[in-house]
Symmetry: C2
Subunit: 404 residues, 2 copies
Amino acid sequence: MRSVQEHLAACLAAVGPQPPLEVVLADAVGCVLAEDVLATRDLPLADVAALDGYAVRAADVATAGPAAPVALRVLDEIRAGSVDPTRLPAGSCVRIASGAPLPLEADAVVPVEQTDRGTAKVEIRTAAAHGENVRPRAQDVRDGEVVLRAGERVGARQVALLAAVGRGRVTVHPRPRVVVVSVGDELVEPGATARPGQVYDANGHALAAALQDVGVATYRVAAVPDQRGPLRETLEDQLVRADLVVTTGGLSHGSNDTVKEVLGPLGTVRFDNVAMWPGRQLGVGHVGDGTPILALPGDPVAAQVAFEVFVRPAVRAMAGYADLYRPTVRATVTTGWYSPAGRREFVRVTLAGSPQEGYRATPAGAPGTLLLSALARSNALAVVPEDLTEVREGTALSCLVLDA
Amino acid sequence: MRSVQEHLAACLAAVGPQPPLEVVLADAVGCVLAEDVLATRDLPLADVAALDGYAVRAADVATAGPAAPVALRVLDEIRAGSVDPTRLPAGSCVRIASGAPLPLEADAVVPVEQTDRGTAKVEIRTAAAHGENVRPRAQDVRDGEVVLRAGERVGARQVALLAAVGRGRVTVHPRPRVVVVSVGDELVEPGATARPGQVYDANGHALAAALQDVGVATYRVAAVPDQRGPLRETLEDQLVRADLVVTTGGLSHGSNDTVKEVLGPLGTVRFDNVAMWPGRQLGVGHVGDGTPILALPGDPVAAQVAFEVFVRPAVRAMAGYADLYRPTVRATVTTGWYSPAGRREFVRVTLAGSPQEGYRATPAGAPGTLLLSALARSNALAVVPEDLTEVREGTALSCLVLDA
């Protein structure tokens, strides 16, 4: 049997960061930068007004106060988006909008509220120091400066900066496209009528949702019967749009080993019993032209656990993240159970508590059962080490936090 | 001046949860349920095999062991998706796939590994108790049971359960559609050439990204000049697809009050100076046929802060969440600064530390400046109360955590 660590290492070795691609800014949102972004101009590009008011020479208003206003001639109005290329003569000013560049020789802005709002002539009722209410050129970013580094995620605050320095396109690791294929003769689509013996395909929908939460593009294929022909055709069809294929089911110990039989000739996939519970048989390798493939068990609880333990880190690696894993916390369990020897057990638990008072983990459903109702109310996976067979009330376990 | 709390209350009062809508399962992902979901069948629907093996009568194999195998006749093979409607006679068994329903009278499953894998006759090498390796009917969900409650978010684990109980459609608060409009004569699209005085539109892109991170559908309109006609036309055009409109800019104290002038006749929007920094003038109300609108400042740092403080909670309320706010932590600041009197200041900080050792907040850039470069490297907003004017090294402040 392979250890969980060995199989995880194999999954991560099978994938790599998506090749860098230049995309428009809107498509970069949520992606990881694949370039250091250099500013190609100053931000702001000139000394600009920090608020609406009058651009003045500070020296002209040095003596101004509420009781001793200074009158200045208003030469012009500089609205946002325009510039005044003339020099400001002494004794004069211009009305200026927040964000507009100051005329030459102006070195301060008096807020409109500190004036009589005159249009030809204005009374200035406060002194202004050199540079007051002015955002100096390059205060935010200097031409040539690295504004964001490769490896940073492009979120809203990074987009604001990229846009402000004029970047309409940026090079990122593009969102991986993941094709999800559920295999099983028994599977029918939710909403359809299930005959006796049939079950609804939970894995296709649940894995697509889990991938969507990671932020990747997902294509869910309707469940494929456990037969070589249809599975082979489906995989061949889907490879054109897949950066990664995830299958569930079709790994029966019994007469049907469809996934193994089909994947054998299509690529280099190895299947192992992995020392974990739930889930046991797992596959990893490549198909077609080197597209990575991860094969998960058919049981929907086991598939979700395998997703969290193996697929999510692999997908994050493809998306270019350095940090691949869910946060973990230590929690004491509120009730005991027996855990299988020689296997790492992932128990669906509800976490309660806080960093200050500590966390408590309560199994959602009996740990040995595979209940979707329990999975749906859990918010973490408690990890029982391979050599621990008796978990007691109060035992401290590491827990993967599933809901932030 | 209105307080931050008053303006937030007005924003939340202007919106409400999206009217419930029945959608297909794939479209429900990431939405909040607007119905209690009842199971309309048991899960599993019958006693099913928990693993691949032989379905037996436990009484027949009570004496079986490695040294004393019991031979049974193999009547049939039940593959996944099929059923065997016959009763199992004593002394016989059926080969059964994991998940397949047991034949009548069978009450245990012997794992294939504990047999000689016979096809006509099989040697059973272990005893099996009544119910062993069987998932009893309704073990997971009972017909008529509430499986998920209104108000729960539909994530991967909830989708697995909904699919498994056969729900192809579900009633949710659909994703709000938010239209983002930046207003300003000075704005040009990133990637285009900016003439002197022009600046790149950061707000449109950054707010669209921020909304995308909240999980809503966003339509970004290219920046609109600060003129009544174009702004009115844009708003009228966009209202058909907007559940919420967010504007930035066009709120100048100076000669241009375009947003106010246009919104006046179009709806009922009030504008207030809100006692906060950055950002001051903010609008809230309705336009057209009652579409809520939130007006934010034009400065991109102020707009992002206003997004976090007002828009994000409002959008989450529309999406049906009960929990509207970012998590907060207390952090001690690593350096002091002066904070404006009578205003709640939101300072962009980088948080470091842990729940155990405590958190430290370091301002990203001087708190009084509005730098996008500092915003991009911050991961939290430290909140300085209205009456605190001197923040000292070691002062403990509440911080909104922006990055999970």
